[in-house]
Symmetry: C2
Subunit: 189 residues, 2 copies
Amino acid sequence: MTMEAKASPEERLLEAAAELSYRHGIGVGIQALCQAAGVSKRSLYQLFESKDELLAASLERGAPAYTAWLLPSPDDGGSPRERILHVFERMETATLAPEFQGCRYLTVQIELKSPTHPASRVARGVKQALAEFFRAEAEQGGASDPDLLSRQLMLIFDGASARAGIGVDDLTGLISPTVSALLDAEGMR
Amino acid sequence: MTMEAKASPEERLLEAAAELSYRHGIGVGIQALCQAAGVSKRSLYQLFESKDELLAASLERGAPAYTAWLLPSPDDGGSPRERILHVFERMETATLAPEFQGCRYLTVQIELKSPTHPASRVARGVKQALAEFFRAEAEQGGASDPDLLSRQLMLIFDGASARAGIGVDDLTGLISPTVSALLDAEGMR
C-alpha cells in the first residue's frame, strides 16, 4: 500500500483518454479506454455522457498545466521578444520527448474534422489563448501589426510541432532564426 | 450510356479510398470503402493486400497531378522568388474549396502515427519533393542558407494548410507577407 490516495475511476478514465487518444488517435475504442482505466463500460457511461465528452474532458483537464508550462509567468521581467521566444523554447523541448507526436490540441482538431465536436472546442480554446498571448506581447513590443504577427507565430508553432511530431524535421537550428526573422520584420523591440 | 469507359473496380477503390480517408480520416472502414466503390470485400482483397496498401496506392495515384498543379512549370521564366510564391498561391487557392480539410499528405502522417506505414512513406515522399523544390529555388535565388529556407517554407506550408484545414485561420493577408519576410531575411533575389 502506498501513502498516495488512489485515483478515482473518473481520474483514471481522464488519464487513459488523454494518453491513448494521443498515442493512437481519436479512433481509440471504449473497450481499450475502460481496460486501461480499469473501469467498466457501465461506470464510464455513468461518469460521461459519451466518448466525445470524455475526450473533451480529458483535454480540458490537462489544459491549465500545459498553458502554465508553455507561457512565461506574467511577471518574469522579460521583454516581449524574450517572452515569445520562451514559448518556442518550451515547444522545442516538448518535441524531444520520445513519445512526442505533435501538439495534441492541433492533432485532435485535425483528426476530428469537426469544429463543433466538444473536444475540438476545448482544443481551439487552448490554441486561442496562445494566439492571444502572442498578440498581447506583439502589441507590447511595438509590432507594426500585432494581429498579423500573432497569426504568423501560430503558423510557426503549429507547423513546427506537426513536422516534428511526424518525424520529418527535428527543428535543430530552425525555430529561433525563423521566429527572429518574423519579429524583426514586424519591428519588434 | 455515356461515351466514357467505366472506371475499373481498382480505380473505383482508389478513388473511394482517397475521398473517404480525406473526408473522415484513416479510420474509414473496409465496408464503407467497398460500398462507395461498388466492389465486394473479396475483390478488394484480390486487388490490394490490405487496407494499408489501398490507402498508400490511393495517395500515390493522386501525387503526380497534385505536384504538377502545385509547382510552377520548369520553364515558366519566373524568378526563384516568384516560383516559390506561386506554390503558396496554389496552396491558398486549395484552402478555398469547401471540402478542404488540410494537406492530405500531412494529415495522413499525423493520423497514422507511424513513419513506416506504407501510406506515410508515400506522403513523406510527396512533401520531400516540395522541400527539394524550395531548396533548389532558394539556391538559385542566392539564399544565404538554402537548407534553412527550405525548412522554413515547409513550416509555413504545413502550418498554414493545417490551420486553414481546421478552420481557425482563413489565411487572408497572411501568407504573402510571411513568406516574403523569410525570403528577405535570407537575402533572396
